[in-house]
């Protein structure tokens, strides 16, 4: 019984973090890659996959470090410094590991990995997990869901941008402004998901 309710909680968390409070469209984290790497669906999907991979891993590692190093030694106030260094090191390490062990996955994600190091969504998720006092397992689910939300948003935006490319847009609104307006309209659409929970 307990198991079922906890699984239900996790599912609610999954929907909540990926759709209802979407990381880009309602929390404004990871905005730069969202606007920068969304010109083509293919690159957007690649970026999304890399982000899912890194954020899930980073929330697991950050969760473990928080629980077994920062809390026992009573130095939780160092979380910001520790998390950002851990994330930067982790991305480098993942890159080397993938290159040696799973070259095919490295081929697919390789270009995007170094670009993620300073993506504020990664640090944001690690900090949110701590702030909301999620356990390690819940934190990983939250991380995965958040990254999934990022991927959904960036792929949709890339699809819209591909269609928009040849439209006749007023001179001043060419480029960034039209993309931002699109993102705003998407944010309105995503507001509709708040009825889900």
């Amino acid at each position: 019984m307990n198991n079922i309710s906890s699984i239900r909680d996790l599912f609610i968390l999954l929907v909540g973090s990926s759709l209802v409070s979407n990381v880009v469209l309602s929390q404004f984290l990871g905005l730069c890659p969202f606007l920068g790497v969304s010109k083509k669906i293919k690159t957007a999907a690649g970026m999304g996959a890399a982000v899912i991979f890194v954020i899930t891993l980073a929330s697991a590692v950050a969760g473990v470090i928080y629980k077994f190093i920062l809390v026992p030694f009573n130095i939780t106030y160092l979380q910001t410094i520790v998390f950002i260094l851990v994330i930067a090191a982790l991305v480098q390490f993942v890159e080397m590991f993938l290159k040696k062990v799973i070259p095919s996955l490295y081929e697919a994600l390789g270009v995007y990995l170094p670009l993620i190091t300073t993506n504020c969504a990664v640090l944001g998720v690690a900090l949110t997990n701590v702030q909301k006092e999620y356990g390690i397992g819940t934190g990983v689910v939250n991380g995965f869901a958040t990254a999934l939300g990022f991927t959904i948003a960036i792929v949709i935006l890339a699809g819209i941008r591909e269609k928009m490319e040849y439209n006749d847009i007023p001179e001043s609104f060419k480029g960034m402004p039209s993309v931002l307006l699109t993102a705003g309209l998407m944010a309105i659409a995503f507001c509709g998901f708040s009825g889900l929970l």
């Binding site: 730069c32 606007l35 270009v111 944001g124 060419k174 931002l180 705003g184």
Partner: protein, 312 residues
């Protein structure tokens, strides 16, 4: 002479190179916390403190930080100040701390701070660096307060909590919600584009004016944010990653052509690319590339300051 330099730095940050309106850096906090003028001001001032102090310390340590590990060193320094500021806010301004939430620790990854550390503080003496930080921070604060005020005015009909709009005004709620942030920023960038185009038509130099986070990443700490990495229209700025993507997306026969073109265009850089087999190396090259650009930009400023020193 000293006062003049200080004033010049402040003016530069506030108006000439305003991080938000001109350079378009640090868009994440700009969009996220500007639901009201007060939140914008709080975020701006917090960032100012971190920016000024980290600029000062980085400038003091610039002779001791080896070039190769400068980015991690910057991050540690910035993160330390962010932690201090966060603890102070928790103790003395708990309401603001709750309102800004996770965006306070996220100041660490704000493009503006790493950007200024890299492009100014690392190459200049402490005093100008301190005032560069204060100027940039104040420019950021003013911008955030203005955006916050506009959103609060349209969305609630108030500014700083005081009723401004007449009683009959129906607030447009969406402006304090997430979509409103995108719309306000879109309007802002459109206005900037308009002014830029007019200035360019008059023959003014607008090369320093950014347009959106995704176009001025030379000054930006966020390596992950650039349109130039993927934009075929803007080649050359980052040949390594451009080419890496080209190899991935383009057919093999075409790749050879692309490589030839790239070599023809930039032989020296293409050689580096050929050596850079791993992306890690590619990243280093990109960073080196960035540094070169940044240094070349910073050089004139440095010279100016040296001249100033002589004059004194």
């Amino acid at each position: 002479m000293k006062e003049k330099r200080v004033a010049e730095r402040l003016f530069n940050g506030l108006i000439k190179e305003n991080p938000t309106f001109v350079l378009m850096l640090g868009m994440c906090p700009t969009l996220a916390v500007t639901t009201s003028a007060m939140n914008g001001l709080g975020m701006g001032l917090t960032t100012t403190v971190v920016l000024a102090l980290s600029n000062l310390i980085i400038s003091l340590l610039r002779k001791f930080i080896p070039n190769r590990v400068r980015i991690p060193a910057f991050i540690v320094i910035v993160a330390s100040f962010v932690t201090m500021v966060q603890l102070l806010l928790e103790a003395y301004l708990p309401a603001l701390n709750t309102a800004l939430g996770v965006y306070i620790p996220l100041i660490v990854v704000n493009c503006i701070i790493l950007g200024r550390a890299e492009s100014f503080a690392y190459h200049n003496p402490p005093l100008p660096s301190l005032f560069d930080g204060i100027g940039m921070g104040l420019g950021f604060s003013v911008a955030l307060t203005l955006i916050g005020a506009v959103r609060e005015l349209l969305g609630v009909g108030e500014v700083f909590g005081y009723r401004v709009m007449p009683q009959g005004y129906t607030p447009i709620n969406i402006f304090v919600l997430a979509p409103g942030a995108f719309f306000v920023l879109a309007a802002l960038v459109a206005i900037q584009n308009f002014i830029k185009k007019k200035a360019a038509a008059k023959g003014k130099d607008v090369s320093k004016v950014g347009s959106g986070c995704s176009e001025d990443c030379t000054n930006c700490g966020e390596k992950g944010c650039s349109k130039r990495f993927y934009d075929a229209d803007a080649p050359g700025k980052n040949p390594v990653i451009n080419e890496a993507v080209a190899i991935k997306t383009v057919e093999p026969e075409k790749t050879a052509e692309a490589e030839k073109t790239a070599e023809a265009e930039k032989t020296a850089e293409a050689e580096i690319t050929a050596e850079a087999e791993s992306t890690a190396e590619a990243k280093k090259t990109a960073e080196a590339d960035n540094t070169a650009v940044v240094e070349s930009e910073a050089a004139p400023i440095e010279e100016e300051i040296k001249e100033d020193d002589k004059n004194e």
